[in-house]
């Protein structure tokens, strides 16, 4: 148990370390002066010189890396020059909105996708299932920003049921959450179908069925419970991918989260801001995954006893 926890913790720290290092290398490798990149187009030569010294650009690369890490540790990623405020603060002020959208979407996705996936597993390869299967493939194939624009046009312009943008009321939440959830429903339900399908065909289930266990119990208490670990793992890794989707969808709906922030940062070449977004979202995704991984022992006693390793 302890080895499992420490292993997972080490892995998460390694991931964060790799992210931080990649950002460092990218900034140093980029054409042009990193001081210029950090200070922005409006900086004077004096500012540039100050930044150069504070970044230690005349020091050896390893020392520079040390300074970079120390700055990060102090939460100093640089000043966003389109907001004239520390980049980290700007990102943190937007973060709750993004998390809110992501959490609602994943909840909706789970509520819809698990029954859907179980149904698909039980009716595998019938005509109706094939139809739904093709639909789920379509669901994961449409660009999410396009789904967003389509829903927006349909339900906010043509049939004005929901407000078109913003975060003002609960009805404004419906369309963005649905947009993000569509892709997740498609992905998760296909995964549930695969996992539950494998378990439904497993010998232990045949034995249970032969002993007269009811179909509902077979499905939910046996097949679904045994599928829950791989499903949870994938949900954990999926969270990172979902953040990507959330960011894009936010732009469509003018959601005051990280998405619109990052697009603005991109337009103004606000490197510190993008950098802060990269780091914050990475820490968030890695943290969520760690949390999920630490839940395994509760679901699977084999993990608790260190008998299986969770990939």
């Amino acid at each position: 148990m302890l080895t499992y926890v420490s292993k997972r913790l080490g892995q998460s720290l390694l991931t964060i370390f790799l992210t931080v290092s990649t950002v460092f290398v990218l900034i140093r490798m980029a054409p042009g002066d990193p001081a210029y990149a950090l200070a922005g187009p409006l900086a004077s030569t004096g500012d540039l010189e100050k930044i150069r010294i504070s970044m230690g650009l005349n020091e050896p690369l390893l020392t520079q890396y040390g300074i970079f890490l120390k700055d990060l540790g102090a939460g100093n990623i640089g000043k966003s020059y389109s907001f004239q405020a520390p980049a980290l603060e700007v990102v943190m002020s937007r973060l709750p909105n993004t998390i809110f959208l992501a959490v609602l979407a994943i909840l909706l996705a789970i509520v819809v996708a698990i029954p859907l996936g179980v149904w698909m597993a039980k009716r595998a390869d019938t005509k109706r299932e094939l139809g739904v299967n093709v639909l789920t493939i379509a669901g994961q194939s449409m660009p999410d920003f396009w789904i967003g624009i389509m829903l927006l046009t349909l339900f906010a312009v043509v049939f004005p049921i929901f407000p078109s943008s913003g975060f003002t009321s609960w009805s404004g939440v419906v369309l963005p959450v649905t947009t993000v959830a569509i892709l997740q429903i498609a992905l998760v339900s296909r995964m549930v179908r695969r996992e539950v399908g494998t378990n439904m065909a497993a010998p232990y289930l045949t034995v249970a069925r032969a002993r007269g266990t009811g179909e509902q119990k077979l499905t939910w208490a046996y097949a679904m419970r045994n599928s829950s670990i791989p499903i949870l793992t994938t949900l954990g890794t999926r969270f990172a991918g979902m953040l990507n989707g959330v960011v894009v969808v936010e732009v469509v709906f003018n959601w005051p989260g990280l998405g619109s922030l990052v697009v603005r940062a991109l337009e103004t070449r606000d490197y510190p801001l993008i950098q802060a977004t990269v780091l914050v979202t990475s820490v968030l995704a890695v943290g969520v995954q760690l949390l999920i991984d630490l839940c395994y022992p509760l679901l699977d006693p084999r993990v608790r006893l260190g008998k299986v390793s969770v990939a």
Binding site: G236, T237, N244, S282
Partner: protein
């Protein structure tokens, strides 16, 4: 000898009454799976071809010039004479823009997928075959990358290095290599334990030769199918990058930018956004269906091994 015996046997079995009717055979789960796979492959190939062929032939087809603007024919609806998909806010032909944008997207997608496929197969195969520290390094890298929301990192790279086609291709390739690597690694791990690898060792074949000439050919089919799935993701990723403003810059028409530019006119001219998006969706659905159907098939051929 054996043929002499078999012929009457076969004839006899045809006469013998059997409980297994053709109808039952058709309804068996194996036959159903086969049919599902076939439907997916045919439908997928059809949808992919519907989009890809016109894109390849865009230069040959009688289309208006991509950038030809005409103030007099702005916002023409679809099926207008000479403009099948209508025109946009500057009077440019949308079909022409979609097809030329498709050339950019497909070039980026195919190149990116080839690079990520190669990198993934090489690293995955080395990790699976040799184990030890190679495996440790590659596996940690895969895990690290899979748990990150890469989009922001990609945006940072594009912001720093400029949104040129090579940069975007590279960025998408880097985003995608873990998937084929992970799969190759897990397949090679199984393959490595098979007797023929031992035989090769006994025969004195160098390990790397065994890997390249014998192990990889046995797993490559399954990997290629997954790489095909990645092509779908690559196209989506490129369109998302363009939509966010990090795609190839003008003069290239890209799918994401056609949509983001047309967004402002959605209430009056729905087709500017709807049609390009539908084209992306059809292409990606087609590729996904094709890959999904092929995967079902390849997996079955391989039997219980996977």
């Amino acid at each position: 000898m054996s043929t002499v015996n078999e012929i009457p046997l076969a004839a006899e079995s045809m006469k013998r009454p059997t409980a297994v009717t053709k109808r039952l055979l058709r309804r068996s789960s194996a036959a159903r799976r086969e049919r599902s796979a076939k439907v997916k492959i045919v439908l997928g190939a059809f949808l992919t071809a519907v989009v890809v062929l016109p894109i390849i032939l865009a230069q040959v087809l009688p289309l208006p010039d991509v950038d030809a603007q005409a103030i007099t024919s702005r916002f023409l609806p679809p099926f207008s004479p000479g403009h099948l998909f209508g025109t946009d806010q500057l009077g440019r032909d949308i079909l022409s823009r979609v097809l030329h944008g498709g050339q950019v997207s497909l070039t980026i997608g195919v190149l990116a997928v080839v690079i990520s496929g190669l990198v993934g197969v090489v690293l995955g195969a080395l990790a699976g075959f040799f184990g030890g520290w190679v495996d440790a390094v590659v596996s940690r890298l895969i895990e690290a990358q899979l748990s990150l929301p890469l989009l922001m990192m990609l945006l940072l790279v594009v912001a720093l290095f400029g949104p040129s086609i090579p940069v975007i291709t590279f960025v998408i390739a880097i985003a995608q290599w873990p998937e084929p690597a992970r799969l190759t690694r897990s397949l090679v791990l199984v393959e490595r334990e098979k007797p023929y690898v031992q035989a090769a060792k006994v025969l004195g074949l160098p390990q790397i030769t065994t890997l390249v000439k014998h192990v990889i050919p046995n797993v490559i089919n399954q990997v290629i199918v997954v790489v095909l799935l990645l092509l779908a993701t690559a196209v989506l990723m490129e369109s998302a990058l363009s939509f966010l403003g990090a795609g190839p810059q003008r003069p290239f028409a890209t799918w994401g930018r056609i949509i983001s530019d047309g967004q402002d006119f959605i209430t009056t001219s729905w087709w500017i956004v709807t049609l390009p998006g539908a084209v992306i969706a059809i292409l990606v659905v087609g590729v996904n269906l094709l890959a999904d159907g092929l995967r079902d098939r390849v997996r079955r051929r391989k039997g219980a091994a996977s």
